[in-house]
């Protein structure tokens, strides 16, 4: 895996996006979409895995905690490749404001916990994260970078 440079390289194309309704059953569409992107953009297996971990976490967070029960909404995931070996995903919603990156890091000294791992995973598997509020909703940018070491 290559080291990510700090900052967010500017994308020169509009990329592509996936729109999901705010239902947990919609999350099954994510790995299919990510797999297609991985094939098309030669995303390394390790990075594809990391993207799957982070998008499952980010999107399920919005659906479970962002939107209120019974509220209809959508979660839009954008993908762009600003330059070779850099893969940027942005998760946008229209749910109440919530910064997942504000969550405290898990206590690594205590006994392992199942809950609270999500943000820990985001911080570990994404090279860069950036949260911002929208007038209505939230935006979470995630950058992944790495190159195929094989073929």
């Amino acid at each position: 895996m290559t080291e990510c440079e700090p900052g967010w390289p500017e994308a020169h194309s509009h990329g592509t996006w996936l729109s999901l309704a705010n239902r947990l059953s919609e999350i099954r569409r994510l790995p299919v979409w990510i797999g297609e992107l991985a094939s098309r953009h030669s995303i390394p297996t390790e990075i594809e895995f990391a993207i799957n971990v982070c998008l499952e976490e980010a999107v399920s967070n919005v659906i479970r905690h962002g939107y209120r029960e019974g509220e209809r909404g959508e979660v839009i995931v954008h993908f762009t490749q600003p330059k070779a070996n850099f893969f940027e995903f942005t998760v946008e919603d229209e749910a109440r404001h919530f910064n997942p990156l504000d969550s405290p890091a898990p206590d690594t000294q205590g006994p392992p916990r199942v809950g609270g791992q999500g943000v820990h995973f985001l911080r570990h598997f994404a090279a860069q994260l950036e949260y911002s509020v929208k007038p209505r909703g939230n935006r979470l940018r995630m950058m992944f970078c790495g190159e195929n070491s094989g073929t």
């Binding site: 392992p112 820990h120 570990h124």
Partner: protein, 111 residues
């Protein structure tokens, strides 16, 4: 995700998980694992065919492990691939449920 079980020598139950252990599959796997864990004290979970593990999937492993441990038994994980191993390590779950890459050492840990 497919789940199959096999009884090994020494009273060990081998549970083979095959597929993605993600938010979609986790509840069903959790339920099935708890049924399998019920009444068993030596459980070897074969993770060699697990292609993905997310934070939700961890629940399906930890819940049954605690049930078994609560009865004085033991559960170990066997053969996760490199990426799944990374998730286990980052979460610290590997400190709660021992992870083995060799079947013989996994079985020995349950004796």
């Amino acid at each position: 995700m497919a789940i199959t079980t096999e009884e090994l020598a020494g009273g060990i139950t081998r549970v083979v998980l095959d597929g993605r252990l993600d938010i979609e599959n986790s509840p069903a796997v959790d339920s099935q694992m708890k049924v399998i864990a019920d009444g068993r004290t030596s459980v070897l979970v074969d993770m060699s065919k697990v292609s993905f593990l997310g934070s939700m999937g961890l629940r399906a492993l930890v819940g049954p492990a605690l049930v078994i441990r609560g009865r004085g038994g033991k559960m170990v994980l066997f053969g996760p691939n490199e990426l799944v191993s990374k998730v286990l390590k980052i979460s610290g779950i590997d400190n709660m449920i021992p992870v083995h890459q060799e079947l013989t050492s996994a079985m020995a840990a349950l004796q």
